[in-house]
Amino acid sequence: MNINWGALGEVFVVALVAAVVLTTLFAYGVRGLSERETARDQGGTGTLQLTGSVVCFAVCTAVVAYGIYLIVA
């Protein structure tokens, strides 16, 4: 019997990093949308906040696409 603790640790680290990156990016994206509304309520355009959100969501999508690529390949 040869328990592969290294692989288990690797799964843990990879999953933790991936999940933290994804949830953080997505949460900042949502926060950006919220701040955009606040900015618009105060007479601003909110373009900066919207751009930030879009970048967050785009990176999020890219990370997910890479994940799917890993299953398929």
Binding site: A18, A27, G67, I68, I71
Partner: protein, 375 residues
């Protein structure tokens, strides 16, 4: 019994198992989305079914997952595989009746181990491999997923703490639909694969395929369709347990739980670790419950689930062993086991009708809108 006839019987039994696997595991991907109201129940199971079907076609390392050295494949015959499948199906149906999200993979492994043990002796089962490939991941995976989900949930609430409630609610509803879809896809690549492996093993054992063959296209199509059909039917009882009874779930939590589960499943498949999707997603839900400032987790329900996890493999092994004792007696034995299996399945289905849980009754009208609390 005619050789090709027994192989046909095994294929039918394997597809029946795949079907129960589908409706048993719908909850893994969709329970939290349904509980938070991010998706309507029927829409959720529809999306999940389609993605399971797609996932079934993406898989590559099929037979490896299932044969994987847990039982000695030179000593396995189609009859033994059949007995193992009957054990797995019956355990899946019983746990569904009581609404417990037990692992379909463990039911399958348990059934095969029990049947092989009885038919070919204990030395045909590689117990070292069982510990390495089944027991260790069973303990580790819910903990890993739980910790990841805890961190993810905490960060999610932290970051959006001062944001507007309506934007947060809407944003994470969308996020949840996406993350749940990813879990469904991962599930298709993972669990449909296991049945394909079993059918391929039976075809090899029956001499239809050369050893080491890849699954033929019709096997992939049949398995994909069976798991998708099962998924669409929806295991509403288990969805209720996962989505409502374990802990109350809000959309940001559901999003974090599913993202974590998907990440754990993807990471482990990529690195060659065989995990149970059921264990991963349950751990994720509990972790997200803890991450929201230790929102109440109903440990009684969690404890009952843990007991079911521990029991799954031995229980399915015992049923599989019994089935093997009878079905290796000859053709009449195999027919008898098949008949008893069908009667039991029918009986369980009839019992479930007395207290139905359906798409209509799964959520009380107060399907919770997300209202993030300060962390």
């Amino acid at each position: 019994m005619d050789f090709s006839l027994i192989v046909l019987v095994v294929v039918v039994a394997a597809l029946a198992f795949d079907f129960t696997n589908g409706f048993h595991d719908t909850a893994n991907a969709m329970a939290t989305s349904i509980a938070t109201g991010a998706l309507k129940p029927k829409v959720a199971v529809g999306i999940s079914a389609v993605l399971n079907l797609v996932g079934a076609f993406l898989s590559i390392e099929v037979a490896k997952t299932i044969s994987g050295g847990i039982v000695d494949d030179t000593k396995v015959t189609p009859v033994v595989i059949f007995a193992g499948l009957i054990g797995a199906i019956i355990w899946n149906l019983v746990t569904w009746l009581v609404g417990l999200p037990s692992s379909s993979s463990h039911a399958l492994f348990g059934g095969l181990i029990g049947a092989t043990w009885i038919a070919s002796g204990a030395d045909a089962v590689h117990f070292g491999k069982v510990v390495e490939k089944v027991l260790i991941p069973a303990v580790a995976s819910p903990i890993v997923a739980g910790v990841v989900a805890l961190v993810g949930t905490f960060l999610t609430y932290r970051i959006t703490q001062k944001s507007r409630e309506n934007v947060v609610g809407k944003g994470f509803k969308t996020g949840q639909v996406l993350s749940a879809s990813l879990v469904s896809l991962a599930h298709g690549t993972n669990d449909a694969q296991k049945t394909m492996g079993v059918i391929t093993l039976a075809l090899i054992a029956g001499g239809t395929l050369a050893p080491g063959s890849n699954p033929p296209l019709w096997v992939i199509v049949a398995c994909g369709l069976a798991i998708a059909a099962g998924t669409y039917l929806g295991g509403w009882r288990i969805i209720q347990t996962m989505g409502k009874k374990l802990t109350e779930i809000q959309t940001p939590q559901g999003f974090a739980a599913e993202t974590s589960s998907a990440a754990v499943i993807l990471a482990s498949s990529h690195l060659g670790f065989a995990l149970s999707t059921t264990h991963v997603t349950s751990g994720g839900i509990i972790g997200s419950g803890l991450g929201r400032k230790l929102a109440e987790v109903r440990w009684g329900v969690a404890g009952k689930m843990a007991v079911a996890w521990v029991l799954t493999l031995p229980a399915a092994a015992i049923v599989g062993a019994l089935a093997a004792v009878i079905s290796t007696q000859g053709s009449w034995g195999t027919v008898l086991v098949g008949g008893v299996g069908v009667v039991l399945a029918l009986g369980i289905w009839l019992a479930s009708r007395r207290n139905p849980v359906t798409a209509e009754t799964i959520n009380e009208p107060e399907a919770a809108e997300a209202a993030p609390v300060a962390v």
